[in-house]
């Protein structure tokens, strides 16, 4: 039967993997191609590379990084960060990516979803959504704080005023292949995913939903797959400090009753 996926995410700046610890220092954590390859050998079901380079000049470095990473990778490889046009996406696909992830550029110009999908296939377009539940003050006046979760852009700082569930539905209608849902409330805290929000989004669309934000243990993954109805879960922080082996993690998640790709 179809298994749930554990996806390793690498944040990349200027061609190097970076890891932020508790929103403080950015540490150089190595070469993306080498790390991606190690994660894949360690059992990760997919690799995501997120380019967080701020400047436009960084694009050339990114494409070179994508090419080198794709060269020895034989699991699905998604690239996101700064893709603003179909031409940007084409360059990334030609460099070896299988899927692209688009976030603020999609909500700014939703036509982009179909533009990329019509050339490369809908399955190649992931729409990433950064979500925040209403803050305590606004939540007090809300009958449905989960349903009122809003889409944020610019690294989760600026509210778009749009509801997550509604934007996820629109993205699906416009031809997104998958939704990558990041809870900015739980992100980086390693205290679990936002399972309730994930479940609501998963039930609202027919396309797969990838949960992101908050993974700290195998139990968190099991919970977001079962209660959260996620089809896949993405993790970065949990793989800190050189941990590139997903097998033990997957075995624990499988023991909780979740179908996993094992052996891997």
């Amino acid at each position: 039967m179809l298994t749930k996926r554990i996806i390793a995410c690498l944040d990349v700046r200027a061609g190097r993997v970076v890891k932020g610890i508790q929103f403080l220092d950015i540490i150089d954590a190595g070469d993306p191609a080498e790390l991606a390859h190690r994660h894949a050998r360690g059992g990760a079901d997919e690799i995501v590379l997120l380019d967080i380079t701020a400047t436009h000049e960084g694009r050339g470095t990114l494409l070179d990084t994508v090419k080198r990473t794709a060269a020895s990778l034989f699991v699905p490889f998604t690239v996101g960060g700064g893709i603003r046009s179909a031409a940007d996406a084409a360059a990334v696909f030609n460099a070896g990516a299988d899927k692209v992830s688009i976030n603020s550029s999609a909500i700014a110009r939703p036509e982009l979803i179909a533009e990329i999908g019509s050339s490369f296939g809908a399955q190649a377009v992931i729409v990433a959504i950064d979500a925040r539940r209403p803050d305590a003050r606004r939540a007090a006046g809300s009958r449905d704080p989960v349903g009122d979760a809003e889409v944020f852009v610019n690294g989760g700082r600026i509210s778009t005023g749009r509801r997550v569930i509604e934007w996820a539905r629109e993205a699906e209608q416009r031809g997104a292949g998958e939704i990558l849902l990041t809870s900015m409330d739980t992100d980086g805290m390693r205290n679990g995913f936002d399972c309730e929000l994930t479940r609501r989004v998963s039930e609202a669309v027919q396309i797969p939903v990838i949960a992101s934000g908050g993974a700290g243990s195998a139990a968190h993954f099991a919970e977001v797959f079962l209660a959260g109805k996620a089809d896949a879960a993405l993790a970065a922080s949990i793989f800190h400090f050189g941990i590139t082996d997903s097998r033990a993690l997957k075995a624990e998640v499988a023991a909780a009753g979740v179908p996993m790709r094992l052996p891997c």
């Binding site: 179809l2 894949a40 296939g121 027919q206």
Partner: protein, 203 residues
Amino acid sequence: MIAVIDYKAGNLTSVVKTLRYLGADDIVVTQSPEDVLRADKIVLPGVGHFHATQLLTDLGLTAATREAVAAGTPFLGICVGLQWLYEGSTEAPDTPGLAHFAGQCERFPETFEGADLKSPHVGWNSLENLRPNSRLLHGIDPGSFVYFTHSWRAPISADTAAATLYGGAFTAAVERDNVMGVQFHPEKSAATGLRVLKNFLDL
């Protein structure tokens, strides 16, 4: 020479890269019927809408493929490339397939056994009921996982070499003599996928 057919329906970079990685050094990415006719092996990777396969007929590649496989040239269709080997797909009723295998490709149902079925079928699923003398799947264990991403599927028939379960059983791999197809992406399926492609290269 291995002809990899490019019908402009997606990204064949990964397929070509993987074939080269496995040692194939004479690969031609082509839209030319002449290349297909002189090839030692043919690969047709395909993603996206079934309707896009119409270009194969418009370019003379359907006729060339028919002639090449009749002469015994090994042929491997990947994803939509497998679906095209059948009579057609309900995704594009006006676009005929090669009709080498009987049957129509159909959409996954929206529900199965009382639960909603997500579509497309995306992720790692297992190969079951492997045909024992399959050359394409030689050395692959039943239950091995491979990576799928598709919304339409080919029916089970006597030519099915491996089945996968999602909303019921469907054809994950098809094989009759020199004509073969895989619904999954072998270039994205880690060691199992590499073995499938290696088996094809070694034919």
